[in-house]
C-alpha cells in the first residue's frame, strides 16, 4: 500500500498476485501426491464412462504395490512433470511441454483402461467399466486391444 492514497501500486499488486499463485501451486503440489493426481485425472477424463468407483483406488494401490510407475513406464522425472503440469494446467492455458504432459496423461488413462474390462467389452460406453488387474503383458499376453487379433484383416 502507498502511504498517501491507501492504494497499492500496480507493480506491487502484480507481485502479490504472482506470489499468491506460486504459493498456491507449491501448497497444492505439497498436498497432491502423484497417486491423488492420477485419480483426479482419471475421474475427470473418464467422466463420460460408467466406471466402478472402487476401480480408481484399486488401480492406484496396485500400481504402487507392484512399483508399476517406477518401471520404464513412468520414472520419477515423468511423475513430477505430471504432478506439476496438472496444477499449472488448472491455471494457465498454455505452458512449456504441455503437449508432453497431455501425452503422459493419455498414457495413464490408457494404462488404466487396459487394466479394466473396457476393451474386453468392446469399448461399450453403456457397460460399467470394472478393474480386472494391473495391465502386465507377462501375465496377460496377446491382449493388445487394437491388434490384428481383435481386428483381423478382411480378405
Amino acid at each position: 500500500m502507498t502511504g498517501k492514497t491507501g492504494k497499492i501500486s500496480r507493480r506491487k499488486f502484480l507481485w502479490i498476485a504472482l506470489l499468491t499463485v506460486i504459493a498456491a501451486v507449491i501448497g497444492t503440489v505439497a498436498i497432491l501426491d502423484f497417486n491423488t493426481v492420477v485419480i483426479k485425472m482419471l475421474k475427470h477424463d473418464l467422466a463420460h464412462l460408467k466406471v466402478d468407483e472402487t476401480s480408481y483406488e484399486t488401480f492406484v494401490r496396485e500400481a504402487e504395490q507392484k512399483q508399476h510407475w517406477q518401471g520404464k513406464f513412468f520414472d520419477w522425472k515423468k511423475r513430477q512433470l505430471v504432478r506439476f503440469s496438472y496444477m499449472v494446467d488448472a491455471i494457465l492455458p498454455s505452458f512449456p511441454y504441455k503437449y508432453k504432459y497431455l501425452q503422459y496423461r493419455s498414457d495413464i488413462v490408457g494404462d488404466f483402461l487396459l487394466s479394466t474390462d473396457f476393451f474386453i467389452n468392446k469399448m461399450d460406453r453403456d457397460k460399467t467399466v470394472t478393474y480386472i488387474g494391473l495391465y502386465n503383458p507377462y501375465l496377460r499376453p496377446c491382449s493388445n486391444p487394437f491388434s490384428n487379433l481383435y481386428y483381423p484383416q478382411k480378405v
Binding site: D45, H48, L49, K66, Y99, K100, L102, Q103, R105, S106, D107, V109, G110, L113, L114, M123, R125, N136, P137, Y138, L139, P141, C142, S143, N144, P145, F146, S147, N148, L149, Y150, Y151, P152, Q153
Partner: protein
C-alpha cells in the same frame, strides 16, 4: 601354464554366435574353441519369472560396464546372448546404395564390400532367424522370407497404397507363425523379453552351438586385452573371479559390442589411429499423428511397418536418410470415441561417425570411457526437416493435429563404427573380411565394423557379416 585353443571368441551375442555357427560347420572335429563371456547366463525361463514377479534377482545392465561424461546412453545386454536379450527383432536389410554413400552422395565412407557381396549371407541369416517379411521390398531379394509378413494396420495400408514397396510390413525376427520352440508373435509389445518367446534370441535359435563338445564357455570372464607380437596376437588376457588369466589362441575373434571391441584393442596397444574413433548410432524422433476420422487398428506385432520414403536419394548429399517405424503398442488417444484415431511413428535418422566421438582408455583397465559430444549436423539437418517431411509424405491422410517431439531419443540401442572396415589402415581398422589390418589372426566382428551406419537396424547385417567372415577366413 596357459590353455591353448584353435579359436578364442569374445562374447556370445549375434556377431560371435553367427561366426561360431559357421566355424563349427566348416572346421575340423578336432578343433578346440574357447568362448569368453563377460556376463552370466540368465535363461529365458528365469527372465520371464522375473518379469512376472515370481522371482527376484539382479541382471547387470550396460550402464554399469563403462563410464561416460555426458548424458548419452549406450544400451546393450552384457550377458550370454548379448543384445539378443533386449533387441526388438527388427531386421531390415541395408539398401545397395548404403554401401557406397561416399561415392554416390559425397558423405561418410564407402564400405569395402557391396550389397551383392553380402546378399547370400542375408538369405542365410533370414532363414536361421526365421524372418517374417513381405513379398515386395525396397531392397533386392532373391526369394521370399521364410515366414509370412505381419499384418499392416488400417493406416499402414493407406500408406502402402500410396508408396508401394517403399512402405512395407516390417521384416522381423518376431515370428508371425509358431516355429520350433518359438511362439507366434501376438503384439504384446514388450519385446525386450517376449512373453511367448516369439523373438529370435541366441538362446532359442543358436543356443545349441554352445553345447558342441569342441566348445568351452567361460562365464563372468571379461577380456582385458591381447598379447601381440609383430603382426599376430598370441594370447588373450581375461579376468575371472577377480583373477587375471591368460589363454593362447591360433585365431582370436572379438565379437563384443562397439564399446568393448575397441577397448580391448586399445588395451592391447593397437596403434591404429582409427581404433575407437567414430562411435555413433542412429537418432530417433517420435511424432504423433491425430486423425479426424481414421482408426489405426489391426496391425500385428509391436512395429507393424517400415517406411522408406525418406530413406535413400539425392537428399543424402545434404542431410541424413531416415527410416520410419509405425508403432503398434496399445497406446490410446485420451478422447471419448477417438481412442485409436492416432498413429505413433518413429523417424530414425542415420548419423555419420565423427572422429571426436570415441572410446578411450580410463584409469580402470576394465572400464572403457566413452567420449561423446553429439550427433552430426548431417543428422540434425534431417531432423530439422521433419515437420516439412511429415506434411509431404503423410499430408494426404485426414490429419487433425501433428505432435513432433522437440528432442531425440537418448538411444537407438545400436552402438556402431569404432573399428571400421575399409581398404587400408589409413581410414579403417579391419579389412573387408573383418581381419585386423595389422594383427592378421584377429577378426573384429559386429557393428563396430560399420564405416557408415545407414538408417536401418544393424543386427541382420552384422550377423550376415559374421557368416561371411567365417567363410572367408576358413577358405
Amino acid at each position: 601354464m596357459t590353455d591353448r585353443y584353435d579359436l578364442i571368441i569374445v562374447g556370445t551375442g549375434f556377431a560371435s554366435s553367427f561366426f561360431l555357427k559357421s566355424y563349427l560347420e566348416k572346421a575340423g572335429t578336432n578343433k578346440k574353441v574357447l568362448v569368453l563371456e563377460r556376463g552370466k547366463f540368465h535363461p529365458y525361463t528365469e527372465r520371464l519369472a522375473l518379469k512376472r514377479g515370481q522371482k527376484r534377482f539382479q541382471i547387470k545392465k550396460a550402464g554399469q560396464t563403462y563410464s561416460s561424461d555426458v548424458d548419452k546412453i549406450w544400451v546393450f545386454d552384457p550377458n550370454f546372448g548379448g543384445s539378443s536379450n533386449c533387441w526388438t527383432g527388427c531386421t531390415p536389410r541395408f539398401l545397395p546404395n548404403d554401401f557406397k554413400i561416399k561415392s554416390l552422395y559425397g558423405v561418410g565412407q564407402d564400405w569395402p564390400i557391396s550389397y551383392d557381396d553380402i546378399e547370400p549371407y542375408y538369405n542365410e541369416v533370414e532363414n536361421i532367424m526365421a524372418i517374417s517379411g513381405p513379398e515386395q521390398t525396397p531392397f533386392p531379394k532373391k526369394g521370399p522370407y521364410p515366414l509370412p509378413a505381419h499384418q499392416l494396420s488400417t493406416v499402414d495400408r493407406l500408406l502402402q497404397s500410396k508408396y508401394g514397396d517403399k512402405y512395407i510390413s516390417q521384416p522381423t525376427a518376431r515370428a508371425s507363425r509358431t516355429v520350433g520352440e518359438r511362439g507366434a508373435c501376438c503384439s504384446s509389445s514388450v519385446c525386450d523379453l517376449c512373453p511367448v518367446n516369439s523373438k529370435f534370441t541366441i538362446e532359442n535359435g543358436l543356443g545349441y552351438i554352445y553345447e558342441d563338445p569342441r566348445v568351452t564357455v567361460k562365464y563372468e570372464a571379461q577380456v582385458i586385452g591381447l598379447d601381440t607380437q609383430e603382426n599376430l596376437a598370441k594370447s588373450v588376457h581375461y579376468v575371472q573371479e577377480n583373477t587375471e588369466k591368460k589363454a593362447d589362441g591360433e585365431t582370436i575373434v572379438l565379437g563384443a559390442n562397439a564399446v568393448f571391441n575397441a577397448h580391448i584393442l586399445l588395451n592391447s596397444g593397437d596403434s591404429n589411429l582409427n581404433t575407437g574413433t567414430g562411435i555413433c548410432e542412429q537418432v530417433g524422433v517420435f511424432a504423433r499423428l491425430y486423425y479426424n476420422d481414421l482408426d489405426n487398428v489391426g496391425g500385428s506385432s509391436i512395429i507393424s511397418a517400415n517406411g522408406y520414403m525418406m530413406y535413400d536419394g539425392e537428399h543424402r548429399k545434404n542431410y541424413a536418410g531416415c527410416i520410419i517405424e509405425s508403432f503398434n503398442t496399445p497406446f490410446v488417444r485420451n478422447e471419448a470415441g477417438k481412442w485409436r484415431k492416432l498413429s505413433i511413428f518413429k523417424f530414425i535418422y542415420e548419423d555419420l561417425p565423427q572422429q571426436e566421438n570415441k572410446i578411450v582408455l580410463s584409469d580402470d583397465e576394465r572400464k572403457p570411457k566413452v567420449v561423446y559430444n553429439s550427433h552430426s549436423d548431417y543428422a540434425q539437418r534431417g531432423i530439422a526437416r521433419l515437420p516439412e517431411d511429415i506434411n509431404k509424405y503423410f499430408g494426404f491422410l485426414p490429419i487433425e493435429k501433428v505432435e513432433i517431439d522437440d528432442y531425440s531419443q537418448k538411444t537407438e540401442f545400436h552402438v556402431c563404427s569404432t573399428t571400421k572396415m575399409g581398404l587400408t589402415s589409413d581410414d579403417s581398422v579391419i579389412d573387408k573380411n573383418m581381419v585386423h589390418h595389422k594383427y592378421r589372426n584377429v577378426l573384429v566382428l559386429g557393428s563396430s565394423s560399420y564405416p557408415s551406419i545407414t538408417p536401418a537396424n544393424p543386427t541382420l547385417t552384422l550377423s550376415a557379416l559374421s557368416l561371411r567372415a567365417a567363410e572367408k577366413y576358413l577358405a
